[in-house]
Amino acid sequence: MIAFVTRRLLLGLVTVWLISMLSFAIIQLPPGDFVDAYIAQLSASGSTVSAEEAAAMRQLYGLGQPIYVQYGKWIFRVVQGDFGESMEWRRPVTEVIGDRIWLTLLLSFSALIITWGLALPIGIYSAVKQYSFGDYAFTLFGFIGIAVPNFLLALIVMYFSFTLLDANVGGLFSADYLLAGWSLGKVWDLMKHLPLPAVILALGGTAQLIRIMRANLLDELRKPYVVTARAKGVAERKVILKYPVRAALNPFASNIAYLFPYLVSGSIIVSIVLGLPTVGPLLVKALIAKDMFLAGTIVLLLGVMTVIGTFISDLVLMWVEPRLRHQMD
C-alpha cells in the first residue's frame, strides 16, 4: 500500500515537472522574447519603457542566457509564489487570477461528484433491469451524453432556457453578489447557480461511466456465484449489492483517475459559453492577447490542480477498494 502511494506520488511529481516545462514553453513560444512583447504592448497603450528598465527585466528573467537557465530562474520564482506580471492587466498574475482558480476547482469537483453520484446507481439499474424501458431510456441518454460535446450542450441549454423560460442561465453569481465580498449570502447564491453548469460538465463523463458500469456488472451477474447465492435464498438486494457490484467497481475505478483531468479540461470551454468566472475565459483572453505570463501560470495551476485532484481520488479509491490495496503490495 505504501508502495502504491509512493508510486502515485512520484508519478504525480513527474507530471508536475512536465507541466511546468510545458507552461514555460507556452510562455516562450511566441516569436521574440517577452520583454519585446511587453514593450510593444506598453507603447501601444501610450506609455514607454526606458532602455534601463528593459535591460533590468531581461536580467531578471535571464533572457539571452541558455534556455535551462531561464527555466531555472522562472521556476525558482514560481516556487516562491511570484508568477510574474500580467501584461494586459498590469497587475501581478496571482491578483488577476484571484478566486477564479478556486471556482474552477469547485466546478470541476462538483462535476466529479455528480458523475459518480449519477453513474453508479444508473449503471446498476441498467444492468439489473437489462432491456427494460428504463435501460433503453438511459442508454439513449448515454449516447446523447457521448455525442454532444459539453460546450454544445451548454449552448443548447442556454438557448432553450432563454427562449422558453426567458431566463439567463449564465454566470455563477447573481448581479447583487457579483462584486460583493464573500459572505454567507454569496455562498448560498453560488450554491444556487452551481448545479446547472456542473451537470452540463458532468454529462459526458457520466454517459461513459454508465456504459462501463453496466457492461461490467452484466458480466459479473452471469457468474455462477450469483446463481448460487440466489439459490441459497439470499435477499435479491444483497445478492446484487454485496458482491457483483463491488467486483464490477474495479475497472470503473481505474477509469476515474482520468475523469478529473477530463473535467478540468471541459470546465474551460463550458465556462466560456456560460460566462462563468473561472480561469477558462481568462486563459483564452490571455492567449489571444499573447499575455503569456498569465496564460502560462493558468496552465501550470490547472495542471498542478489536476495532479493533486487525481492523487486524492486515487487515495479515496484505495480506501474504497480493498483489492487495489492488495494488488499493489
Binding site: L11, P30, F151, I156, Y159, Y258, V264, V307
Partner: protein, 366 residues
Amino acid sequence: MSATVNAERYAMATQRQLIWWRFRKHKLAMASLFIVGLFYLLALGADFLATADPHATDARTSYIAPQPVHFFDDGHFAPYIYGLKGVRDIKTFKLVYTVDTSRRVHLTFLGHGYPYDFLGMNTDIHLFGLADAQRGDGIFLLGTDQLGRDLWSRLIVATRVSLTIGLVGVTVSLFLGVLLGGISAVYGGIVDTLIQRSIEVIRSLPTIPLWLGLAAALPNDWSVTQIYFAITVIISLLAWTDLARVVRGKFLALREEDFVLAAELAGASQFRIIFHHMLPSFASHIIAAVSLALPAMIISETSLSFLGLGLRPPAISWGILLQDAQNIQTLALAPWLLISAIPVILVILAFNFLGDGLRDAADPYG
C-alpha cells in the same frame, strides 16, 4: 441441407468475410456506416452542392432566416424561391431586407455559380442555381449569418474541413501509436516502462488548456493550410496514447500465439513476423480503435476553433461556424445559426456506433 451449406460457407470464409458478416448484423452500425459515407460524399462534392460562394459577404443579406423552396408554380413543377426587397425601417431609418412574395425567382439545375476546382478540373457548375437573380437574391436554405454569407454553403464546406482534419489527425496519431505501442511491446523492459509511464502522464494532463496554449503560439501570418496541419499535429500529440495501448495490448497477446512461434521456428525474420503474421491479425482492432478516435479528434478541432484558437477565418470549419452562435443575443436574433450543431452531433454519434460495431466484429472467432 441449408444448415450444412451455411456451416461450410462459414468454415471456408476468410477472416475479412467473417468480420463483414458479423458487422452486417449490427443494424445501428450499418446505418452509421451509411451516414458516415454520406457525409464524406457531401464533403467531396461540397462545392458542387453549395448554392453560393461560402466566403462572399453581402451586407444586404445579413441574418436572413432560412428560406423554403417552393416546388410548384401554378400547379406544375417549377421550383422557385421568393426574392428579397429592401424596406426602410420607419424608426431607425435602416434599410432592412425582407422576403418579397410578389417576386418569384426560379431555380435552375446544374446552373453556373462561383468557380471552383474539382478533382483537378476548374468548373463553375453547381447542382442548383438561380435563373434570373438580382443582386442579393440567393437560395438561403439554412439562412445567412451576420455578414450575409449563406449558411448551407458554409456548412457543407465546413464539413469537408472538419471531417478531413479528423482523418489527418488520426493518421498522425495512428503512426505515433503503432510505432510507440509496438516498440513498447517488442522491446519490453525499461523502454516499455518508460513509454507506459509517459502515456499515464500524458493521459493525466488537462488537454484543452495545453492545446490552447500551443495553438495560440502559431504565428499570425501562417496560411490556412499551415494552420490546418499545425492544429492536427497539436491534437495528435496528446491523442496517440489510446491507440498505443491497443497496439501494445494486442502485440503482447499475439506474441504468445502458436502461429507466431511456428513462424519463428520456420526462420522468419522479426520484421516479417510483425508485418506479415501479426499485423493482419489485429488490423481490424486498430480500425475499430481508429473509428472511435475519430469523433474525439473532430470534437477537439471543433472546440479549439470554437474558442478562436484553432482554425482561423477565412478557413471554415464546424467550430468556426459555431463561434458565431456563441453569444445568446445573436442566438435570440438568428436561432438558425445553431443548425451547425446538428451535423457535429450526427457525425460523432455515427462514428461512435460504427466504432462499437467494428469492435464487436473485429474478433470474428470470439
